[in-house]
Symmetry: C2
Subunit: 334 residues, 2 copies
């Protein structure tokens, strides 16, 4: 692909080691990518030596300031201009990288991305989506936490941006859109959902299929499922908890049934296979949609494998030219 | 127990046959209960004959009007005073029954219950809770759809009413309360959740343990999980969909892994056992909390077994004297 990806070496619960390992894997498996690993250079060199790396397959870019997981995102953005997030986003902004990726503090990365890359003129509120597993492969859930207090018109913009993602990155044709609500019929829901339903029904060029309920989500109600960032975040994190919770629930059930250990082997294999769909580690991360640029946010507890996936996702999204597609999608709509 | 339960024979997707079958089972298994089955008498007698019943173990109470699942609850309540919901609630109001139970249109039953039984003076908004399965047995999720637009102070009342239920019906000591939110720290959330957190923290006599996230729900964050009826309804229905969705996901996984049929038997048994916890049919129904009376609402697609459980739940809740407990709980609080 020949794309250049700037990577926040200090982002995530296990940074920088896990990020360096992920970047090493990405460099090995995707030699066509140019990787710019951003962080305090001395520290990164020290950790790479400790990891036994002698022949560096990527470039280190110095960023001596560190933003903690517990810092206020707003303060961090303003104060620490030599942080890995700032420097990495700057590389992208100045045209030295095609995308920026980070598994750091979501609030800090979102605030810095908005601050440094800027918002597309036609977008009121940039929005963070997520992949959501379904029995038919998966939907895009938008928003999952970047906008917790929304107006109905924001949900329409989320829908349009989500459609652009499903079209350009997932190559889905004429993606369908459903509104997450508490009933199927029009007129159901809280004030926000009722008004959003009306706006979505009237929106030009949107393949809106109506309301979907909580029970429909796993059955693939649409390519794009629209909701506000409060409900979306709760549903996202609930889904992420299913693998762990089901492991416990299956263990308890096996005990209640007095099931012999040897009968559990196929169950374990099957459970693992189902869990794969709910494991965020396989998806890497998602771009904040609506920016003049490409900034992907990964999970804070990303493993090296998840970081590798995040880097590859950064390349895939950069190739899709989402800012142009979103600007176009917003302009042609009513 | 010697309690008298009024049953809406016309409530539910499969009424009246399934309700009659459930009432027959309840009469057989709980001979101490007195059952008053309310509906169009001629129709009920006809259906009972068709079901081969000759010796009636309960009393039929005539209510000739029928409310459809698609009728506006508000209109139905005002217009059809001889409906099974109206007549059944009237029996309870007039002291001829200790509780009313229905698997009918939730909106209609709630509106009629509020209209006929009335609200406790100290309660602003009656609220419908639900059992939610967790790895430690289960929590009470409140509200699950009766109040979709809430003020922060409503959430505090939901918490207090939920605590009364957990104490009186589940016999839990000093029940804990968590607020469903998008982060653990105070200050997280949308405007409603932030304000509710402050009020819950200051509330006298409430065992508030703080915010819980979507990922915490199945891990039993508290005895009572408080949220508004929009998010609560979506989470409830999502949970209800897990058994069906997981059956499909496990089938797909078995196919992908090329797993032989004989290896799947223990998986099926285990999956069934886990699914039991998520099957609303095992819980019957829940009372609308905050009323001057006891009115339980079951699932629209209740089976005969679920109706039997609903009737038994009606007796259990009537015995707990919730209206008195809630009045007391509200009065002693700040």
């Amino acid at each position: 692909m020949g794309l250049r990806i700037a990577i926040d070496a200090m982002g995530g619960d296990h940074a920088p080691d896990v990020v360096l390992q992920g970047a090493l894997e990405a460099a090995r498996n995707h030699p066509d990518l140019t990787l710019l690993v951003v962080g305090p250079k001395g520290l990164l060199e020290e950790r790479l030596t400790a990891l036994g790396v002698t022949d560096l397959p990527f470039t280190l870019v110095d960023a001596p300031d560190v933003i903690g997981m517990d810092e206020s995102p707003a303060t961090a953005v303003k104060m620490k201009t030599r942080s890995s997030i700032h420097v990495g986003l700057g590389l992208h902004k100045q045209g030295h990288a095609d995308a920026f990726v980070s598994a750091g503090n979501t609030g800090a990365v979102m605030a810095a991305s908005l601050f440094i890359l800027g918002r597309l003129p036609s977008v009121s509120r940039p929005s963070l989506p997520s992949f959501y597993p379904t029995v038919k492969g998966g939907s895009l859930l938008i928003d999952v936490g970047s906008n917790v207090d929304c107006k109905p018109e924001h949900l329409v913009q989320f829908a349009r941006m989500g459609v652009c993602y499903a079209k350009k990155v997932w190559q889905r044709e004429n993606p369908t859109v459903a509104l997450l609500n508490i009933g199927e019929e029009p007129g159901k829901g809280n004030e926000q959902a009722k008004a959003a339903f009306t706006l979505l029904s009237q929106a030009q060029g949107l393949n809106f299929v109506g309301n979907c309920e909580g029970r429909d989500v796993l059955h693939h109600p649409a390519d794009v499922i629209v909701t506000d960032g409060f409900t979306g975040n709760i549903l996202l994190k609930f889904g992420e908890s299913l693998p762990g919770a089901f492991k416990i629930l299956f263990g308890q059930a096996a005990e209640r049934l007095g099931m012999p250990r040897e009968a559990l082997a196929p169950v374990g294999a099957l459970l693992k296979e189902v869990q794969r769909a709910f494991d965020y580690q396989n998806y890497g991360g998602m771009p904040l949609l609506g920016l003049s640029g490409t900034s992907l946010i990964g999970h804070g507890s990303s493993s090296a494998r998840a970081i590798e996936r995040l880097i590859v996702a950064g390349a895939e999204v950069a190739q899709a030219h989402l800012p142009e597609a979103i600007s176009e999608g917003m302009a042609t709509s009513a």
